[in-house]
């Protein structure tokens, strides 16, 4: 039986990141954890601080995997991200916009 609680799960991206693993594989592991927690919690907050050496493909894979499984509405409303710097946030924001466009079509407006 699924138990739904009004609560937030907090994940640290760094816990799913290995220096010796492909960057995209680390993103996929984080996405799996976020998907599992979105099934049990009202919202999931992911903290990306401390990550180095990641690219747009990291965020493409992370947002893409979550979006393909749970849909774009969940990406917009229940997944919350904390970034270490403005630059990291800008990088992730461009990926999120691109993923949302690919999920919903070009007319999508994103926050």
């Amino acid at each position: 039986m699924m138990v739904t609680t009004v609560s937030t799960s907090r994940l640290k991206a760094l816990d799913f990141f290995s220096p010796s693993r492909a960057v995209v594989e680390s993103a996929r592991l984080l996405a799996q954890a976020a998907i599992a927690d979105l099934d049990r919690f009202e919202s999931v907050e992911v903290d990306f601080s401390g990550l180095r050496g990641i690219s747009s493909s990291y965020f493409n894979a992370f947002f893409g995997d979550v979006g393909r499984v749970l849909g774009s509405t969940v990406l917009r409303t229940r997944l919350h991200c904390r970034y270490e710097t403005k630059g990291q946030g800008d990088l992730a924001g461009r990926s999120l916009d691109a993923v949302l466009r690919s999920l919903d079509g070009p007319a999508t407006q994103t926050a």
Binding site: A22, R52, G53, S55, S56
Partner: protein, 179 residues
């Protein structure tokens, strides 16, 4: 401070700590904060990821970096021996020439979609991040070059008289003395 080199390194995949030796080289010669370090890491990681995803390079990629004490610059080169940007985009845009292919990927939002997760952001992010670092950048692919200088807009796109067998990315950062 003497000149210093990060030796040539070959890779086939964009891996987590790949850029660390180059980042450390830059950090030894420049005062950089977390934001700057992330911009630099992203630039390097985008270059490596593009090689993994699109280049089909038999040798993968190679990169190296050098701090030059005379000119007070850090210079980075990332090179592959693959099909080039136009070769990669040709699957979706048959007949596209090297200059137009470079122009499109630099602008962003245009991808060969070698993989489902490709969104066409890599090269445009690379350019944006080097620009943010106030660096100069040159990308050579096939018979075309894109040249970006720190304080000049726009990026120049030029045909080349000879053909480079793959894609090469060069950028240099000027070391700014703390005082």
């Amino acid at each position: 401070m003497q000149s210093e080199t990060v030796p040539l390194r070959q890779f086939y995949q964009a891996v987590g700590d790949q850029a660390a030796p180059i980042t450390r080289l830059v950090r030894r010669h420049m005062e950089i904060n977390a934001d700057t370090e992330i911009y630099l890491g992203v630039a390097l990681s985008e270059a490596a990821q593009n090689i993994e995803d699109h280049a089909r390079s038999s040798i993968g990629g190679v990169w190296c970096a050098r701090y030059l004490s005379g000119s007070k610059q850090v210079r980075v080169a990332v090179v592959d021996h693959g099909i080039g940007i136009a070769g990669s985009l040709a699957a979706l845009s048959p007949g596209i020439d090297d200059v137009e292919a470079l122009r499109r990927v630099v602008r962003g939002g245009f991808s060969s979609k070698s993989l489902a997760r490709n969104m066409g952001l890599g090269v445009s992010n690379l350019c944006a991040n080097v620009k943010h670092l106030r660096g100069d950048l040159a990308i050579v692919s096939g018979a075309a070059a894109a040249v970006m200088t720190a304080y000049a807009d726009p990026i120049r796109f030029e045909p080349l008289p000879c053909r480079f067998p793959g894609t090469a990315i060069f950028f240099r950062l000027n070391v700014i003395d703390p005082d």
